[in-house]
């Protein structure tokens, strides 16, 4: 078989191998999605966020390099934002029917923590913009699964929280570079 044809076959094998390995990362989306569907009122929103998260995790793991390195920090940051409203819900402060501003506050707090975590981890990365975008996307989607308990307002609050802490770290890092 000629060199170019064999190389094309090898490249296909490489990409399929990466995709097979990356598909395992999609399973990370399952536990938060299941918890979210059980806790929140809008199954549609949880389903959409969970599916988007699974697709994003597989895509980042397949693409590799900085995108893949951002998965775990983003996921762990997102778990923080995901847990805060659920803990609030468990202790009766953020249950459906409870005062929304309090629930919203939990989402914003979780978002602030997630943004700070991804922002600080970004400082160790060579390609900071890519890391930040990938990390925040994952953190945002995981957090959204928890904040869906407070509806669109909760999700928006969490995303605003992420941006409030991640943006200054990004600006500071750019100014120092």
């Amino acid at each position: 078989m000629d060199h170019d044809r064999l190389m094309k076959r090898a490249r296909r094998a490489y990409e399929l191998g990466r995709l097979g390995r990356a598909s395992r990362f999609g399973l990370l989306a399952v536990p938060p999605s299941v918890v979210s569907v059980d806790a929140c009122t809008s199954d549609l929103m949880c389903g959409v966020c969970g599916s988007l998260l699974a697709v994003l995790l597989v895509a980042f793991a397949w693409r590799g390099e900085t995108y893949e390195r951002a998965i775990w920090p983003g996921f762990l940051a997102g778990i923080t934002a995901f847990s805060v409203p659920l803990i609030g819900s468990a202790i009766g402060l953020c249950a459906p029917g409870a005062p929304i501003p309090l629930c919203l506050l939990f989402c914003v707090l979780g978002g602030l923590a997630a943004g700070a975590f991804v922002g600080l981890r970004m400082l160790d990365s060579e390609r900071r913009a890519t890391f930040l975008i990938a990390g925040i996307s994952v953190a945002g989607l995981v957090g959204s699964l928890g904040c869906a308990i407070a509806g669109i307002a909760g999700v928006t609050g969490m995303i605003v929280g992420v941006a409030i802490t991640a943006a200054p770290i990004w600006i500071w890092a750019q100014a120092r570079a």
């Binding site: 076959r9 094998a13 490489y14 399929l16 191998g17 590799g64 390099e65 893949e68």
Partner: protein, 181 residues
């Protein structure tokens, strides 16, 4: 393949494993001749060797993202090639057994007998295992002496001494296997 080239190959395989597509072509260009040489030495039939080399290349690239950076790239690559050689030999033994069962065992065939192939396969597996457990420098010296990889760029006398030491260690390790004395 000398030490610097091995380090370079290792760095390229690590880059490929992390998802850097820019490392694909340089890895392919270095690995293909290495695997082909290995398969040609391990299998008597050229067509079989070419098939095995292609299969080993496909397997290697499909597993490239699972490469552990702490491992030696050359040992990893040759380990995959050795496994493919073993599988090919096993297939040949099986197809020969099937031919024998259908009454064609009388056909004259200059190829090794199934027993000899089984012994070869067994020995190759043990050899791969022993070489994999040895220090990279020792394994390199032995592989270079068998012309599987290129000689390291060192003085011939130094290489002879290194090979001598490697063979002493190899004999000790080989003695510990079931094939030893």
């Amino acid at each position: 393949m000398d030490r610097a080239e091995q380090r370079e190959l290792h760095a390229l395989v690590v880059r490929l494993a992390s998802g850097d597509r820019g490392a694909f072509r340089p890895v392919f260009d270095r690995v293909r001749p290495m695997i082909e040489r290995f398969a040609l030495r391990a299998l008597p039939n050229r067509a079989d060797a070419e098939d095995v080399a292609q299969q080993a290349l496909m397997k290697l690239f499909s597993r490239a993202s699972e490469f552990d950076p702490d491992r030696d790239a050359v040992s990893w690559i040759l380990g995959i090639a050795a496994y493919e050689v073993k599988t090919a030999r096993k297939k040949r033994v099986r197809s020969k057994e099937e031919l024998g069962a259908s009454g064609l065992e009388e056909i004259s065939n200059p190829a090794p007998t199934p027993e000899a192939q089984l012994i070869d396969r067994d020995l190759l597996g043990a050899l791969t295992e022993v070489l994999g457990a040895m220090r990279t420098e020792d394994a390199e010296a032995i592989l270079a002496s068998a012309s599987i990889i290129e000689r390291p760029a060192i003085a011939p006398a130094t290489f002879r001494k290194r090979l001598q030491r490697a063979m002493v260690r190899f004999k000790a390790a080989w003695g510990a296997t079931k094939h030893g004395p």
